[in-house]
Structures are given as C-alpha cells and as structure tokens.
C-alpha cells in the first residue's frame, strides 16, 4: 500500500487523483431504496406436495426455494448436485414427469402434484440402473459431481431420441432421429463435465442404447 498514500485520507471529497469514492449497494434492489429502507414482510411458507421417486412428499417451503434445494436441503436427496445454480452446468438435472429439467431453474412451488425422479430413484449401489452400471463399466465419470446429472440426462436423451424429438444436429427434421454418437453428444451438451469424461460417457450411452435397440 506504500505507493498509494492517498488511501489514508478517508473523508469523502478530500480524495486526490487516482482514487474515487464509490458507493455500491450489494444489489440493484437495495440501490433503488434511497431513503428509508423498506423491510419487506418475509414471504409466507407455502404448503406443497409432490411425488419423489415414487413416494409422496409433503413440504412447507419458502416460495424462493428451488426444486433443487427442496430436494437437497429439505428431503436430503443430495444426489442431485448444485454446480452453478444458474442453469449453466446441468449437474442438477432431474426428471419431472419423465422430462429432464435443470432443477435449479425452477421453484419448488411450481411442482405441486408433479412426479419427480432423481438419481436416487433410478438405482441404488446394490441395484444399479443399466445407465449407472454402464457409467461404472466405461468409467464415465471422475470426480463424480456432475455424474448424477449426466446419468439423468442420458436416460432422458435416449427416451427423447426414441420419441423422435428433433435436435440441432438433425439433418432432416422430418426423419426420426437415430441413436447416433452425434445425436447423443449434442443432446448431452447441457451437462458439463469439467473432468472431461465425455468420450467415456458417449461409450456408456452407446452401450445402453444398443441394448435397448
């Protein structure tokens, strides 16, 4: 700090060149409150019930709680991972009524009555789902943190291709997609694996797709 003696001056308006005073509130909301701080009433908890892995669950949750945090923090189903909390990484992928979604991008209260399947619902260490077993066999993971999301996505991707849902790499939208490497890789691209197990994940998926075909 020796090269910045002006920092010793703390009173506003007395500052010399090279420094400026900035007041930055921690959020735009707070910044907008220029006089009396408004204390909003705490949001009232909302009762909610849905089915998770075949079991009916009743919760009363803060309306701000994501589906991801409902699973992890309230039901202690921590297999679903929080990697970014912003829908950028796919680690939180779960199946809602059979369709994969990023559970961090959706509020729990939006899922009243829904049927949710998490990684714990696919299989257990003693009874692995075929996709889980294929991931083990092909070493389709390393640190394991993105893995539940990859597996949930992989299961859903094979289902999507089977149902004929088109993708970005489809050459012809009128033709049914096939279980090709490029189709699977494109559809899996919302699930980041920083350890870089992609090549092995592709092999695991190809094996399961082959068994199904």
């Amino acid at each position: 700090m020796a090269d910045l003696p002006e920092l010793d001056i703390s009173r506003r308006g007395m500052l010399g060149g090279g420094t400026a005073t900035v007041v930055i509130a921690a959020s735009p909301v707070a910044a907008a409150q220029d006089k009396e701080p408004m204390q909003a009433d705490p949001p009232a908890p909302i009762p909610l019930s849905f089915e998770v892995n075949g079991e009916k669950r009743d919760l009363t949750l803060d309306s701000r709680t994501t589906l991801l945090d409902a699973l992890r923090e309230h039901l202690h189903l921590t297999g679903t991972k929080k990697g970014c909390d912003h829908g950028q990484c796919g680690a939180c992928t779960v199946l809602v009524d059979g369709v994969r979604i990023n559970s961090c991008l959706t509020l729990a209260v939006m899922h009243q009555g829904d049927r949710i399947t998490t990684i714990e619902g696919l299989g257990t260490p003693d009874r692995l789902h075929p996709m889980q077993a294929a991931f083990v066999q092909h070493d389709g993971y390393q640190c394991g943190y993105c893995t539940p999301g990859q597996i949930c996505s992989a299961v859903a991707v094979l289902d999507e291709i089977g149902r004929g849902v088109p993708s970005y790499v489809a050459a012809d939208l009128t033709e049914r997609p096939r279980m090709t490497d490029i189709e699977m890789r494109e559809r899996m691209s919302g699930n980041i694996c920083r350890c870089g197990a992609y090549s092995n994940i592709a092999e695991a998926m190809a094996q399961v797709a082959g068994e199904r075909a």
Binding site: M1, T19, T21, A26, Q39, T80, Y145, I192, S199
Partner: protein
Amino acid sequence: MKFDTPAGANPIDRTAVVGRPHDRIDGPLKTTGTAPYAYEHHAEVRNPACGYILGSAIGKGRIGAMDLAEAKTAPGVLAIVTAQDAGKLGKGKFNTAKLLGGPDIDHYHQAIAVVVAETFEQARAAAALIRVDYIRAKGRFDLAEELKTAPLTGNSNGGAPPKEARVGDFEQAFAAAPVTLDATYTTPDQSHMMMEPFASLAAWHGDELTVWTSNQMIDWGRTDLAITLGIPKEKIRFLSPYVGGGFGGKLFLRADAVMAALGARAAKRPVKVAMPRPLMANNSTHRPATVQRIRIGATREGTITAIAHESGSGDLPGGRPETAVNQSKLLYAGANRLTAMRLAVLDLPEGNAMRAPGEAPGMMALEIAIDEMAERLGMDPIAFRVKNDTQVDPEKPERPFSERNLVRCLREGADRFGWARRDPRPGQVRDGRWLIGMGMAAAFRNSSLVPSGARVRLGRDGILVVETDMTDIGTGSYTIIGQTAAEMLGLPLNKVQVRLADSRFPVSAGSGGQFGAASSTSGVYAACLKLREAVAQRLGFNTTDAVFEGGTVKSGNRSADLADATRAGDLTGEDKVEPGDLEKKYQISTFGAHFVEVGVDAYTGVMRVRRMLAVCDAGRILNPKTARSQVIGAMTMGVGGALMEELAVDKRFGFFVNHDLASYEVPVHLDIPHQEVLFLDGTDDKASPMKAKGVGELGLCGVGAAVANAVYNATGVRVRDYPVTLEKHLDRLPGAA
C-alpha cells in the same frame, strides 16, 4: 521407508491386482448420488445454518464503511461476520491474498462478509441488504503494461534466485544459426471451474472444530485454517472424503472454510457455506496469463544449436510466477540455452496453480514454436523432435533421465494416427466445406515423489482397512490405493476397504502436481510392508521370503492362511515413503505425444476437433482404466485451453468479466470426439517403489499446441495468441472467397 535406491523386484511386480483395469470401487456410490460431498453431511450434522459470502465489488481500494443494520434484522439472520468483528486473523502460508478482506481490498470478489441465516434463501437475501461504502484505488490490471518494467524472478517455490538460467552463449549461437525463429505467444488467464463449488460445513464443539470441506490437500488446508483462525492445528479435524474436482483450485484453504468456521463461531451452531458460482473465478485462484518469447536457432539439418524461452506473468504482491519455461530446460537438446521469467505485480485476483502449472501454458507455446521451426527447416515435426531428443538433462549433462521414451511415443503415435497421410503444406485438404488439418505435439511433465503416509489394519473379519489422508478428486485414488493394498497382502480387491481424506489418518502426499498416485500408493506400499512383517512374525515365518498370495502366506515349504495371523487379534502396519536423492541424480519426468485432427469451416472459421490420440510414457500404469480417464480428461481441458478458455480482464476496474459457466466457456459433449490413449509398457524403478509416475497432468501438457498446430495445418493461418478463436483467422482463411 526412505526411497533412496532404485526399486528392486517387489510384490507389486506380480501385478495380480495392480495394473489391472478395475472399475472404481467408489463407482456405485458416485453413480447413484450416495457419495457425500462437503455440503451434504446431513447424517453427521443435523440442521446446520447457512452462510452466504458477500464479495467485494471493487478490485482495489478499501471499505470506508459497511452498514449491516438492515441485513442484521432481516428474517432468519443469525450472525454477520466481517473483518471488523472476526477478531485477529492470520494468513495461511499457501495464501497470497487474505481470505477475508476489509478494510483493505486486495482483489475483486474478495470475501468481505459472511451472512449466516436459518436458510440459504434468507442468507442470500440478507447479504443483498448490506450497504458498502467503497473507496476505490487505482490498481495494476494490464499484464502487458506491467511486464515492461517487471523484474526477473526465480522459480515458483522460491528456491531459485531471480536470474536467467544460461548454458553456453545463446546470443552468439542464435546469431550464427542459419535457420531461426523468434516468436511471441500469449496464453490467457484460465479458471479451474471444477463442477463442485468451494464448500465447507463447520461445527465447533467447545474449542474444537470439525470441517467437512472440498480440498485436495488435507494437511495443508488444516494447517492454514489453524494459522488463519489462530488456534492449534490439533484442535481441527479436516475431512474431504469426496471432492468434486479441483484441478489445483482446491490445493489451498479458501474462503468457504474460513467463512464457515467464523460463521459457526458467531452463530454458535454448525454452518455450511457454498461459494456461489459467479464468485468463484474472482474470489479464488486462477492460472495466470503469460507472455512468452521463444527463440530457436538450428543448423540446416535441423540440429538445435540455440534455444531461449522467456516468460512473463503477473500476480498480487508476494505472489509467484507461472513457471512456463520449465519444460524448455529439459525437453530438447541444444548446446546454447537461456530461460528466464519475469513477474509483474498485478491487482487482479490471486494467480496460482492450475493443472500442470508451468508446463501447461509453457507447452502451449513451445510446441507451436517447434512446429514453426520444423516448417522453416522443411522437416516433418516428428523428425525434428526425434533429431533433438536428449537422454540427459541439457543443463546438467551428467544427469541422465531415469527413463525417457519420447521417441517411441512419437513414432507409435504417428503409426496409430495415420500421420503419414498428413499433407505438410497447410490449407490443402478439404472435406466439403471443412478444411482438414492434422497436428501433433510432444507431451512432457516432471514427476516427483513426495512424502506420503498410510496405516493398514488386517482385521479378524478378513478385511484389510487402509487409512490415509490422501484425497480422491476424480483421479481414482480410492481404487489404486485399494489395488496396492490388495496386491501387497495377496487379497482380492473386495477384501480391502479404503478410507481417505480425514486428518485423523496419516498425512499423505495429497492430490497435486501429478505426484498423488505414485506417492500415495508408495506410502500404502510402505505401510503394507510393515503389516507383512507383523503377519510373518505372528505366523513365525521369515519376513524376507514370505509370499502373500491368494489369501495365504508361504515361506519356504511352509504355508498358512492369512486369516491364521489375525486369530489372536487385528494386526496393523503404519509407515510413510520419503524420497531420497534419486531425483538429484536422475531427471524423472513423464513423456508423451498428442495427435489431433481438426476441421475448420472454410466459411465461418468454426473449429471442430475430429480425432484425438495421446501416447503416454509414465512408468507403471497402476490402473489403465482410471489412468486413461485422467488422460482423456486432460485432453478435453487441453481442447478448452486451445479453442475457448479465457478469463476476460476488465483493465479499468480490475476483474474477470466472464465469471460463470455460461460465459467462461469450457468444452461440452459436442466439442469432444472419441479419444484414444495408449500407454507404453514399462516401469521406472527410480521414480517410486511402485515404479509408477503420474499421468494426470502429462495428458494436458502439449495437447493445446497439437490442436493449434492442426488448425494451422488446416488453414495456413498461424495464431499465436490463445485461445485460437475464429475471429483470429477468419479473414485469412483459404478458399472461402
């Protein structure tokens, strides 16, 4: 055991379990989501409170005032800790910047407060109510500008004096060389972006603290947490049974652990803290950007006579250089040599180790330079590398490499990849709209053995339990440690239980610098030798000739069940491996060759990697399945470094702009083709008792250059500033008009 003579024949050579491609023993837990990571220890701690970190909104300056009033009265808030009320905090010996900022701010997003509340939502909302009055100061954020006056520096561990390293007379030899190259390459700041955020759960019991965290190095983290909090190390228990990726980012104590401990002390209950993803790039460490100048002079026949590699990087005051010249001291022959590093002071977030620090960015530059030089010589880049291979340390020719099979890697890789089909003239091969190119690079990374301890216990139930504070960050430690113990006692892998990453276990190598696998298994080897002695002694056998095999122990013509030894009670063995001076007598390194084929869209400049092959020479491969995964993962990270990864610096305000996983682009499934890996057979008896070395970083060293060289071969446009993004060659692509 002291490892001071080359390993002779030993029980690992049998390779009944070691060296086999076993599935990971932690696989069923990881694939079912039942492996508990740091934020998930609900079984051990009921109902912890949640902490939320507030990061500094300025890059340099100080906090004039903080108004916590509103936040403190927000619903659910239990405590707020800032530097003002945290008490006196130390700074960990591995930390450059302090982990709780204020009043002085060292870098953007430095933690300045932790808000503890009943729930995550409440803590996050309350953190947004803290009003901070910052006094912004002028900072140094422009590497190129600061390097103009930056001084020479020594190596990153401070061991070497700050000076140029010279052999012969580089300048004279370079001036006399008939063929020369003088080029400058740049690599950007990169972020680890491991999938699991920094996360910790802290619980105090009186003056004793337990921390479940996500850390690669249990003893370093525990020691630095003790220093930071000013409490005896013995009062802290530090655990990381599962680590969701690290890549060097979790080598050190980070803000999550400190904030959880401070928050728990203030709130008087256990607190867990996960760092929000958008804070990670600026709050924690990153791989520093480099500017590298490489000069090579050669005879017309392609013998290097002069080679110089100079690198500049920046870091906070008291920080360390990115040692990008490391490999240039060792990889190629050449009688006249110069390497030097300069370190500028920057007020950006802390630069520190990321996977293969030094060699990763160093090889990105050097291996383009070698490609360019081969082209100037009209030589095949493999032939040029073969011609300049060396079997001794070029700076100290009396010091041989322990094992060096670089040439075999290059040749076998060339055969396998179909290198002969490559057209050396760039921009010649088309496949529809795609320009096709092939590139290659050598791979090189040093290997070291570091002290590592373990404890093994053979129970009356027939189960062999291994305990060591080693971590498994996705590397396969659980499995290779289990394989090592099984081999040593002659048991199947399913009779071994591996317990890792608890500070109550013997201190290990930890996971870093590609020393983890060889060092930690060697520590287990040493402990197992002690256990074998105990078993032999109890059975009345001669230890030296006892053979442990198939659950039995044989000595001469006597034989006994291993179970007989534990009838009278459990037997234990504990020891550690310690390196001797073999690394002084021998240069111990790992080698490889990377081959890449790319397609470049002739109209848009978009690049796609079509094929990848790595050939690796790294001593005994302990588990080909997990080792291969280390290499393909590194190749994937190398593609990221080559084509997309770059922390964009805001030079006005001093921060990394793209600090999340949407804007800091890393490779995704569609970016990565099928990857092939070959391991050379072989052992290195001077590297470790296991005769093994590391591969986790080798796989990254050189791959970026192989990609860049392939792009050049496709386009004829040489890009020397990473990442190689399409706007850097789009206006010069051939045949697009």
